[in-house]
């Protein structure tokens, strides 16, 4: 009579044989931080391309005049970096769901600073808040830029093997949306208004939700 552990092993022997038959060597994944840097490098390349097109002096003047825009840009930039790191951490099967909380503090800064920008338009007369027509362009910009960034990020995340596809894809969506919102600074000649901030929040939410729905399935397919 064999001890129970041996019985259990032999019960799974056929399955183990099927998994190990014609085993191929695999390339070990680089650490999540380095993989996040690779994606951020693509975003940086995109930023340089856009900066070449944009009216840089106008951007600088606007940022200099309105400190809350700085804060909001720093907030969205940090959100992008930390969400990317969190997404690559979550793409590994052994990482806990708490990584999803990592980008939340800068996201609060981002939302808070944008909200403070709304107040300024009431306090300072003569500013030009965006009307609904202008905000349509912002919405289109964020969505259009988020799509390629999301596709690239999800494609990279697929190499990991997440056991939490929904959460991972949602955090990836936040990273893409934050990147798009940060790049929007180059082309945003308006002061923040309530509609403007609401449209930004809606665009970011839309990107996160569609990432979660479509990307979640994409990441799930790797590991079922």
């Amino acid at each position: 009579m064999f001890p129970p552990a041996v019985q259990a092993q032999s019960r799974h022997e056929a399955f183990i044989q099927s998994l190990t038959a014609d085993l191929k060597p695999v390339r070990r994944l680089p650490p999540p931080g380095r993989r996040a840097l690779l994606w951020l490098a693509w975003v940086a390349a995109l930023a340089f391309t856009l900066a070449a097109v944009a009216d840089r002096s106008a951007v600088a003047a606007r940022l200099g005049a309105a400190p809350d825009m700085w804060l909001s840009a720093i907030g969205s930039g940090l959100t992008m970096v930390l969400a990317a790191v969190a997404a690559f951490q979550l793409s590994l099967p052994d990482r806990g769901p708490l990584w999803g909380l990592l980008p939340l503090p800068p996201a609060l800064l981002w939302i808070g600073a944008s909200g403070a920008g709304c107040l300024r338009t009431w306090l300072v007369p003569g500013t030009h808040p965006a009307d609904l027509n202008d905000t349509k362009d912002c919405l289109a910009f964020i969505l259009a830029l988020s799509v390629p960034l999301s596709v690239l990020l999800l494609g990279m995340l697929r190499r990991g093997s997440t056991l939490r596809p929904g959460l991972t894809a949602a955090v990836a969506g936040l990273a893409s949306a934050a990147a798009a919102a940060t790049l929007l600074v180059f082309f945003h000649p308006y002061d923040a208004s309530v509609t403007d901030v609401a449209v930004h929040v809606a665009a970011v939410a839309l990107v996160i939700i569609s990432n979660r729905a479509l990307g979640g399935r994409m990441l799930q397919a790797v590991n079922t």
Binding site: F2, P3, A5, V6, A8, Q9, S10, R11, H12, E13, F15, I16, Q17, L19, T20, L23, K24, P25, V26, R27, R28, L29, P31, Q89, S91, L92, P93, D94, R95, G96, L98, W99, R159, G160, S161, L163, V222, N223
Partner: protein, 227 residues
């Protein structure tokens, strides 16, 4: 967020240590019975698993077979601790082994293999418990509904034999004792609910069920030769 390494698993691990193939190349699962003893057991086992996994990532099949065999005991102990029912533990083992296989490129040899494996096994056990939980909610235990379900082949037969069968059935029901006949007529033929019938007859639901059960049994015995 590094997880604590394998020190915590000493108890469960020692149970399987006896059966673990000591040599990566050993072909049969029954061949190994070299006990590995000592206070540093879990640490040694973990270092060996890490080395096996690193070799498997490089394509060493023998090391990979030895590693997966070794994983079975660990996964089982995790599944038991997550209170997976005994008959589903093998499913967790297979799910977890498959996940290990698909995720093997994500293992970083600088970290504890055992901690990596245990996290995967825990996650797989929880997934399975959720799945079976949902399954149980969807299933309904309804013996009366089951008994009442129209049997289409019976309807065809009734059409074929026509009045003769109807008469025989009617006669059989009429011959039942009063309480059983009451149950069959109200619950089956008139399709009343158990609560309605109980209110109408002043009998308890339990008594109605017993009568119906007995009636169906005797009808089945009497009409058995037909259907």
């Amino acid at each position: 967020m590094r997880r604590p390494a394998a020190h915590e698993e000493a108890g469960t691990d020692r149970a399987t240590a006896e059966a673990r193939p000591a040599d990566p190349g050993s072909a049969s699962p029954h061949s190994a019975s070299q006990a590995i003893a000592g206070p540093d057991d879990a640490g040694v086992a973990d270092a060996r698993r890490s080395a096996w996994m690193a070799a498997a990532q490089a394509g060493d099949q023998a090391a990979y077979v030895a590693l997966l065999r070794d994983c079975v005991g660990v996964i089982e102990s995790v599944a038991r601790r997550q209170r997976v029912p005994p008959d589903r533990i093998d499913d967790v083992v297979q799910d977890a082994l498959l996940t290990v296989h698909r995720a093997r490129q994500t293992y970083d040899a600088a970290r504890s293999f055992t901690a990596w494996l245990r996290t995967i096994a825990e996650r797989r056990a929880i997934d399975l418990l959720r799945k079976t939980g949902r399954h149980a909610v969807r299933e309904v235990h309804a013996p009366l509904a089951y008994e009442r379900r129209a049997d289409e082949s019976a309807a065809n037969r009734r059409a074929a034999f026509g009045a003769e069968v109807n008469n025989r059935l009617g006669g059989a029901v009429a011959d039942l004792p009063l309480r059983q006949r009451e149950a069959v007529q109200l619950l089956v033929l008139q399709e009343r609910s158990l609560a309605e019938t109980a209110a109408e007859t002043g009998r308890s639901k339990g008594s109605l069920k017993v009568s119906l059960h007995r009636a169906l049994k005797s009808l089945r015995a009497r009409l058995g030769q037909v259907g």
